[in-house]
Assembly symmetry: C2
Homo-oligomer: 208 residues x 2
């Protein structure tokens, strides 16, 4: 049995129901911790599930930032300092990672509150998450305001990468399962993965 | 042992190596089939791994379209007709889904070539993928050219949803594992998932 929803059904949903429904509809998502630091040195770390790939050359990724929730510190810090880090989750830290979404008071560090460890290296201004196995740094490139719903797209250039050596395949593929990276769905569901297969580059003349 | 890569290392990578590396770095991704139809009635279906959530009210999602690969038909059809469908993968169709990325000749339908079934319903112009268990329709809203690398962001409003009834939780969450939706990483790696937990809404005064 399947259920169908039309425009009016979606519009008529209770707000939290709709948020959960639409957030899970798109499929499994990347889930990462974004580390930033204010110009005054206040550290911030926040969970995001809107990271997406924009291009490999130059190496660019995007995130969507909502204006009305706690990651606004993330946005301000990125605009002020141009520096942020992106850190994968694994089973050992997903509860702390989720907890970073709580609305802590101004001046409180999610690192301190959740027990995650800020890590500085190579002169990069923003802190990494020490517990993460896959870490990379971004330099802010562009901000695009999406007037359609008041959110903001931030584009960053990947300027530093830290990955377990054993996770890198000969062709450059990073085997995220060996790093035990997680995926999420909806607003609050965390998942491990199991590889089915890597498929060859598709050509018109063959079936699979 | 970990391996580190700096700006110059990334710039110096062989093109395909870098594409594979950067595409997998961001974490697990949503992977979907996008169905469109030209104004002349020519059907098109293409695999995308750049779908991301923009907002729930209105219900909006984004995709990144590259100018230089076969999904350009997808872009043109969406701009011409404003209609497209998004369809999840499961184990039974992931090989056909991957095969849609082959560069078929102008006038060839990826539906016919891969054996996927175009499905029309409710007067929606674009075809759904009949084999998909989670299907939704979008109405094109906005096109944003990302001059930084020549890609295009398309924003759509979700106007119709079809999901297995058994997958919808009481709070609106769609349990994608019951629909056996897949996730992907990099350019060619497909994965099933296993839920660890759904976590409660995070509040500042509790640890997890």
């Amino acid at each position: 049995m399947n259920q169908e929803f039309f425009d009016q059904d979606i519009l008529g949903m209770e707000t939290r129901y709709r948020a959960s429904f639409i957030n899970s509809l798109g499929g499994f998502k990347s889930v990462v911790l974004i580390g930033t630091r204010s110009t005054q040195g206040q550290e911030n770390v926040a969970i995001f599930s809107s990271l997406f790939h924009i291009g490999a050359n130059p190496a660019l990724c995007g995130i969507i930032v909502r204006p009305d929730v706690s990651p606004r510190h993330t946005l301000q810090n990125i605009l002020d300092t141009r520096s942020y880090t992106i850190n994968h989750l694994h089973k050992g830290i997903y509860k702390q990672a989720h907890q970073t979404s709580a609305r802590y008071a101004e001046g409180e560090s999610e690192f301190e509150k959740t027990g995650l460890t800020p890590l500085y290296k190579h002169g990069i201004y923003a802190p990494f998450v020490g517990e993460s196995r896959v870490q990379f740094a971004c330099e802010f490139q562009q901000k695009i305001d999406l007037e359609i719903n008041g959110t903001t797209l931030l584009i960053g250039k990947i300027s530093y990468v830290h990955v377990p050596q054993a996770s890198i395949a000969q062709d450059g593929f990073i085997d995220l399962e060996t790093a035990e990276s997680l995926t999420c769905s909806g607003l609050d569901s965390y998942h491990t993965t199991q590889k089915i297969a890597r498929l060859a580059y598709a050509k018109p003349d063959k079936a699979d």
